[in-house]
């Protein structure tokens, strides 16, 4: 196979042999792809960097392709502060959840858009939640925070079934048998708002965060997302700083 003119982002790369790189790419045409890249010794090409749109050429029959020709199509998306840790988070999600060679054009577009807006302050949480939701549903991993067209029942109690990835509701008398992996006591108004990405409703983002996280952890079989921790640790450092500033 030789395929050229492929739009790609680097999700992850590792050194390979003396001068090469093993690269995990998110491509528009093929979804996630693994390839080996050996930069030419003569001319210095663009750096094989994440958060940068490339046009590439792929060769090879096997699952591991050879990456030839690497052109950066735009200026690199320079992320700093919180945005760069959020970028790692997006990359880790895609790296670990996307199957190889399954095109997801819509998701690719959403990823490219989100990267370019990541540095714009504000609404980072909302954008991350929307991307998580899109990713899960694109991959058929299910995330239904509110059944379409369903009415709110005043006397029902609402829960999220983590294994099924959807909201369930009980009648007036909640079952006493509590299944594991069910998050209970959810507010239907917040679930509805989160389902339609109406983040102006106070608390909707927080609910989405908890439920998305539980679902992603379940899909990843509990193996922690290192980048989520890093993002959290970075934000905590910022909070310590804010608290200590007035005293100085």
């Amino acid at each position: 196979m030789i395929a050229g003119n492929i739009s790609a982002f680097v999700l992850h790369r590792k050194p390979y042999r003396e001068t090469g790189h093993w690269v995990s790419l998110f491509t528009y045409e093929f979804g996630r792809v693994a390839a080996i890249y050996r930069p030419s010794r003569k001319k210095s090409g663009p750096l094989l960097s994440p958060f940068q749109a490339f046009v590439i050429e792929l060769h090879g029959e096997g699952e591991l392709k050879t990456l030839r020709q690497l052109d950066d199509v735009q200026s690199p998306i320079l992320l700093s502060g919180t945005a760069q840790y959020a970028g790692f988070y997006l990359n880790e999600l895609l790296y670990r959840l996307l199957p190889l060679y399954e095109p997801h054009e819509h998701l690719f577009q959403a990823y490219a858009d989100l990267l370019s807006r990541l540095q714009v302050p504000g609404a980072l949480e909302a954008r991350l939640r929307e991307f998580e939701g899109l990713l899960l549903s694109e991959l058929g991993l299910g995330l239904e925070l509110w059944p379409e067209g369903a009415e709110t029942h005043t006397f029902a109690s609402y829960a999220f079934d983590v294994q099924e990835g959807r909201v369930i509701f009980f009648g007036e008398h909640p079952q006493p048998s509590r299944a594991p992996g069910v998050i209970e006591g959810l507010d239907p108004a917040l679930l509805k708002a989160a389902a339609r990405h109406d983040w102006s409703v106070a608390g909707a983002l927080a609910v989405a965060k908890v439920l998305h996280r539980a679902r992603i952890d379940y899909v990843l079989e509990g193996k922690p997302l290192k980048s989520r921790n890093l993002l959290k640790q970075y934000l905590e450092l910022g909070r310590v700083e804010k608290k200590s500033t007035p005293g100085r």
Binding site: L47, L230, R248
Partner: protein, 199 residues
């Protein structure tokens, strides 16, 4: 091809995956050591064992050394209030060879790379936090690589240093000496422009 004996296979397995060593080179190395230069193989085994026994991380800077505190940290002529943070012992060597720096070092165990499982704990940032808490560091010079991971590491340290009111600077990046602008890639050029200095 006939099978190699289990110990040879094991040796090959241990060699491959070393930086720059693929399956073929690992095979050649193992057979060469055993077949042609057994004395060298014995010396290699001994050298490895000795290094493993003696080499440790400096309790101050995490550099590899053979005592609790490395020579650089123990040197009274160096300005310990100035701390240059690097990603590996090789970087210390490079900066030392330049002769341009007379402060102390802090050697990280790599750089933050969550997709490789490397977070703040794995690269030894808690030890740096202790050094900052002790209060005798007045200036940090961040010399992590100019990859996105190196940048993320630098910014994390900037955040760690803020409550201490320590001056932090980042190694300047730009045009190589004798380099012509036309030959510099645009990433380097944009960094060089961003980091320009007033005359």
């Amino acid at each position: 091809m006939a099978e190699l004996s289990p110990s040879i296979e094991h040796l090959i397995h241990c060699l491959r995956g070393l930086p720059g060593v693929g399956p073929k080179s690992a095979q050649r190395m193992a057979l060469d050591l055993l077949e042609r230069t057994p004395e060298r193989a014995a010396r290699l085994a001994e050298a490895l064992q000795t290094a493993l026994n003696k080499v440790q991380r400096c309790t101050q800077c995490q550099n590899l050394c053979e005592s609790a505190v490395c020579e650089l940290c123990a040197d009274p002529c160096r300005d310990a209030s100035q701390l240059c943070v690097v990603e590996s012992p090789l970087d210390v060597m490079a900066i030392e060879q330049s002769g341009a720096f007379k402060g102390g070092y802090f050697v990280l165990k790599g750089r933050l790379s969550p997709l490789d499982g490397l977070g703040p704990d794995e690269i030894g940032l808690p030890r740096l936090a202790q050094r900052l808490d002790q209060g005798n560091v007045g200036e940090l010079i961040l010399a992590t690589s100019s990859t996105v991971e190196g940048e993320a590491t630098a910014e994390f340290i900037v955040q760690m240093a803020k409550p201490h009111g320590i001056a932090v600077s980042r190694l300047a990046r730009g045009i190589p000496l004798g380099g012509e602008l036309g030959l510099v890639d645009r990433h380097t050029l944009s960094h060089a422009l961003n980091g320009r200095k007033a005359f």
